[in-house]
């Protein structure tokens, strides 16, 4: 029972990450009609916003020890963080909470990155074949990766969750199942965070005039244009929004997976599978498929399952994708006529 509950929690937490990335991806599909292979790089940039924020907060004053020397003969460096010297305990608290606080800087940065990316590059490829879009966005992803690697190195850079949520929650005690069922606090926080972001995006598109226009544009861009609405401008903002969703997903993921320059690519292929399984351009489909595939991946990793189907954890997502596409060619929630020739 404990093992099953753990895999459910695991699936929800994985699914949250997949859904967040796929949500941004499908927003870009649905509005601009662009196959954005740089979406994983946006996730990675968000993660490095958190890393950079932490590095800035952790900047240290370096004083050279007049007596002690390093093993190679240079004076020993004595380091002390500026922020703690300036702000005392509040400075230390800020460093401790650097990952969640970094969201405040990640949002404007990613919005700017998204808008610049769309205006500066993507819009020139709207009328070009999809292969061109894939090549240019994939190329962009590689450029962004290499820039990050140049400045931050190839090794993962660990980020810590705030100390108050750095341990494990005793989920078993909450559910009256004993003390053995524990789950990392930060993963629960991440799941809650992804639920809030997903709900926020849906609410934004559902309950605001801006969202209504965007949804109308996704459904029939030409008619919305004929009504005198500059749908292109709104879609640019939506692309920025997609970048923000990917970015904050990346920033909050850093305590779970120490980020390196390649972290976005690790998620990219899976996210495309999620989008296709969910139904091209369907926001609800992306979220549903994200959680479904996260859950399947989690359960297929159980030793009991793998003893019957060795290696199933490696192929389950693709296997299910094949089955779904064979039986439901438009994916789980794809609508007839949308994004079809």
């Amino acid at each position: 029972m404990d093992a099953i509950l753990l895999q459910i929690l695991n699936g929800l937490d994985k699914g949250g990450a997949y859904a967040l990335i796929a949500l941004g991806l499908t927003l870009a599909f649905g509005t601009l009609g662009v196959v954005n292979f740089a979406h994983g790089a946006l996730f990675m940039l968000g993660a490095f916003c958190a890393v950079t924020f932490n590095k800035l907060l952790s900047l240290e004053q370096v004083i050279l020890d007049p007596i002690k020397k390093t093993a190679w003969g240079t004076p020993l460096e004595i380091r002390s963080p500026y922020i703690e010297a300036w702000l005392g305990d509040f400075g230390a608290l800020l460093v401790d909470y650097s990952v969640p606080v970094s969201i405040l800087v990640t949002i404007p940065i990613m919005l700017l990155v998204g808008v610049i990316m769309e205006r500066g590059l993507i819009r020139h490829f709207y009328n070009r074949p999809h292969a061109d879009q894939i090549l240019v966005t994939f190329g962009l992803a590689i450029v962004l990766q290499e820039i990050i690697k140049h400045y931050f190195g190839a090794n993962p850079i660990p980020q810590t969750a705030p100390s108050i949520v750095s341990g494990s929650a005793n989920v078993g005690l909450w559910l009256g199942l004993g003390e053995n069922l524990v789950y990392p606090w930060w993963r629960l926080v991440y799941f809650a965070f992804s639920a809030v972001v997903i709900f926020g995006v849906f609410a934004f598109l559902k309950f605001t005039t801006f969202g209504m226009v965007v949804r109308a544009g996704m459904f029939d861009r030409q008619t919305v244009g004929l009504l005198g609405i500059n749908i292109q401008k709104k879609f640019t903002i939506v692309f920025g929004l997609a970048a923000v969703v990917a970015g904050v997903a990346g920033a909050m993921y850093t305590p779970i997976l120490p980020p390196d320059y390649h972290i976005g690519m690790d998620f990219l292929v899976l996210s495309f599978v999620v989008v296709v399984v969910g139904g091209m351009g369907s926001l609800g489909g992306a979220v549903t498929a994200g959680f479904l595939l996260g859950m399947l991946q989690s359960f297929s990793s159980m030793n009991e399952i793998k003893s019957i189907f060795p290696g199933i954890d490696q192929i389950i997502i693709y296997l299910v994708a094949v089955v779904i596409l064979l039986t439901m060619p438009r994916g789980l929630m794809g609508r007839k006529g949308v994004m079809e020739d």
Binding site: D13, A71, T74, W186, D260, H262
Partner: protein, 453 residues
């Protein structure tokens, strides 16, 4: 309804994406069979001018790029020292040595580099390019056993010497050994042999171990060694689970550990996988757990300082083994650290150490033999006993071209005094304790290939 001029067909997207990913995944394979360029001197790439060219094949991109960068720094420092520049580093401590700091056999040492990308096909392609185009007389490097074995095999076919860098699988000098290949680095057997007694001392004889293992040659080799040595102590193996290389999120593999009844988790992972799996195991509260009335423990059989940096706080107190550590106090280690630190502002990693040592050993073997011929080099290195390279008295065993020396058991430092002070040496395991019969891992060394190419 078709609703815009920018519309996308799902089928088109899938097809184009698949084609793009396949094209990218294929990587650069430009291998021209039988195209190894000819040269004179009776052996491949015999140097004819005033220089001798060495080929440094390290990961310059990809997951091990930082490790590769450190290896390359060490190679460049070795070349500098061989050519009589700098403070000489270990040239001053290496014994017996005929190196004089005036190049090798009167020739100035030059080098070319290749990028292995930590992929066997890319590593073979870059090694082949260095042999064919750049006329490298020796190839060295690698940060992965899969890559090292692939390149070693290529060097055997091409007729050049391969001085392995960081490769830890038993197979490199076991079932996949080749007469043209030599390894200074230790292996998974030695890690197990060194760690076993320390694990017994620290954690007792009654333990149940759960293994998470990287699913490739090094992981299998490491798991088997750890399993053999811990079971010999009386430990039980609760479960062994293979994990895909580069899995990223290991949570689905860690959650089954929680209720498995195991009280030790052995992470047979290296590099990024180790950083991720260890960090996540700690997040899941494994180190705060009590199982079978004992504290739950995590063991990482192969450590490096660069990895410890990536794992951050999670590494503190974790036991593992390493080939060398910059904090060793012997004169040879001190000389190398001083030289490397002065040049680059940071101490060398264990990967840098083994690469530096291998370059000096090759050069000394050439001087001893009076030739760069693979036959001469092999003859000099086989059974060669030396000291003053940071590992105490060491021997290149003739039977399998594996170096035998002391092995370090280390622990993640609880109270680091600097950003580099991440590992503390728990025990220096004497060479006799990690030695084994060359026959146990099978394989056939064959004969040295010294044909003209």
């Amino acid at each position: 309804m078709s609703n815009s001029k920018n519309e996308i067909s799902r089928r088109k997207v899938i097809k184009t994406s698949a084609a793009a990913m396949a094209a990218i995944g294929a990587g650069p394979v430009f291998f021209s069979r039988g195209a190894i360029a000819g040269s004179h001197g009776g052996y491949c790439n015999a140097p004819t001018g005033k220089t001798v060219t060495l080929g440094f094949n390290v990961p310059q991109t990809g997951a091990y790029a930082d490790e590769g960068a450190d290896e390359l720094r060490a190679y460049k420092l070795a070349v500098k020292h061989l050519n009589g520049e700098g403070d000489g580093g270990m040239l001053n401590t290496f014994k017996p040595s005929v190196l004089k700091g005036n190049g090798v056999l009167g020739k100035k040492v030059a080098f070319v580099t290749g990028d292995t990308q930590t992929k066997s096909d890319a590593a073979r392609a870059s090694a082949k390019r260095m042999i064919e185009k750049d006329k490298a007389v020796m190839i060295t490097g690698g940060s992965s056993s899969g890559v090292a074995i692939a390149v070693q095999s290529l060097c055997q076919e091409a007729g050049v010497i391969f001085m392995a860098g960081l490769t830890h699988s038993n197979d490199t000098t076991g079932k996949d050994k080749r007469a043209n290949g030599f390894r200074h680095f230790f292996n998974t057997y030695m890690s197990g042999a060194a760690l076993g007694p320390v694990l017994e001392k620290e954690y007792g004889k009654e333990r149940r171990a759960y293994h998470l293992t990287a699913d490739y040659t090094w992981g299998w080799s490491q798991e088997k060694s750890m399993k053999d040595f811990t079971e010999a102590l009386g430990w039980q193996t609760a479960k062994t689970v293979l994990t895909p290389v580069g899995a990223g999120d290991f949570s689905q593999y860690i959650t089954p550990v929680l209720n498995s009844g195991a009280d030790v988790l052995i992470l047979n992972h290296y590099g990024k996988d180790m950083v991720n799996s260890l960090s996540q195991a700690v997040q899941f509260g494994l180190r705060d757990k009590q199982v079978n009335g004992k504290n739950f423990e995590i063991v990482v059989p192969l450590f490096s300082r660069l990895m410890a940096q990536g794992a951050g706080e999670a590494i503190k107190g974790i036991l593992g083994s390493t080939n060398w550590n910059w904090q060793l106090k012997d004169p040879a280690s001190a000389a190398f650290v001083k030289s490397f630190g002065a040049e680059y502002g940071a101490p060398p990693s264990m990967a840098a150490h083994t690469c530096y040592v291998q370059t000096l050993l090759y050069a000394n073997a050439a001087e001893m033999a009076g030739t760069f011929s693979p036959e001469g080099i092999a003859k000099s290195l086989e059974g060669f006993k030396f000291d003053g390279m940071g590992n105490g008295p060491t021997e290149y065993r003739a039977e399998d071209h594996q170096c035998f020396k002391d092995v370090l058991v280390v622990r993640g430092n609880q109270n680091p005094t600097s950003q580099f002070d991440l590992l503390e040496v728990v025990e220096v395991t004497p060479r006799a304790q990690v030695e084994y019969d060359a026959a146990i891992f099978g394989g056939n060394l064959g004969s040295v290939n010294a044909k003209a190419c």
